[in-house]
């Protein structure tokens, strides 16, 4: 697999799966931790989490926002691209590359916007 020529097609496809996996792992981890905290006495709630995050330096907060925003935005836009393919459109080489670059561009802009909020 490492000898396959890097192309936007399979790089974006792999990234779609990786971002989805990371986001789902974080979501699942948080939900499970909250669900089973009773007998474990973890004391997880949103106020404690917000208080913890407020104590972090701004740089760490920015890194955290970026590492959450970019996978989410990329996965969402690429998901829309997949749904466009499912309707039968943009299934040409040109279509794949055009939509691919559009997704990448939109993801970068949106991540920048989300990090600056």
């Amino acid at each position: 697999m490492t000898i396959y020529q890097p192309q936007i097609t399979w790089y974006m496809s792999a990234s779609h799966r990786v971002t989805g996996g990371i986001l789902a792992a974080v979501f699942y981890g948080g939900a499970i931790a909250y669900a089973i905290q009773g007998p474990l006495g973890l004391g997880l709630n949103s106020d404690a989490l917000v208080a913890e995050i407020a104590t972090l330096p701004t740089s760490l907060k920015l890194i955290g926002k970026f590492s959450l925003a970019f996978p989410f935005v990329y996965h969402s836009f690429n998901g829309v691209r997949h749904l466009i393919w499912d309707t039968g459109n943009a299934l040409t080489l040109k279509g794949v590359y055009t939509t691919g670059y559009t997704v990448l561009g939109l993801s970068t802009i949106s991540t920048l916007g989300l990090c600056l909020i």
Binding site: R17, L23, A24, F27, Y28, A31, I53, K61, H82, I117
Partner: protein, 166 residues
Amino acid sequence: MSFGMLSFSRGFVFRRGFHLSPFASGFTFHRGFRNASPNNNGAEYIKGSVNEAVVLPPRDKVAGSYHWDFERLLSVTLIPLTIASVVKGGAHPITDLCLGVILPFHCHIGFDAMITDYFPHRRNPVLNRSFSWGLRAVTLIVLYGCYEFNTNDVGLTELVKKVWHA
């Protein structure tokens, strides 16, 4: 007499063959087709001889194209849901309810696709089955966790908003 015994023993060794390589016993690093049944060769639809008509697998309401439709339906509904939660930017119980149900299902289908891709049933039957059932159990816990969080705490959208502006 000793000369005769020597020649007999040497001939015995040559007839058995003398292999030093561990690969001679069939050891391979790659599991490959080890688990595939040698009788069916994956041709699970052929019952009896090859001259009989193919018996297709029974139709399944849950798998196949219905599964595909359901998966796309979930993905499509997530688009307005996400936009609504971002634009409204605050606690909204109905959005949280929908997100708390649709997101776990969406993640479950994604994880299930990864399991079928990397641990196919034909190659890793035990891992495939244990991961599949483990995933179902975990998704149930996540559904319960989302319900608890939406009920007893601020809710999913409000959590994201608070964390983002912390």
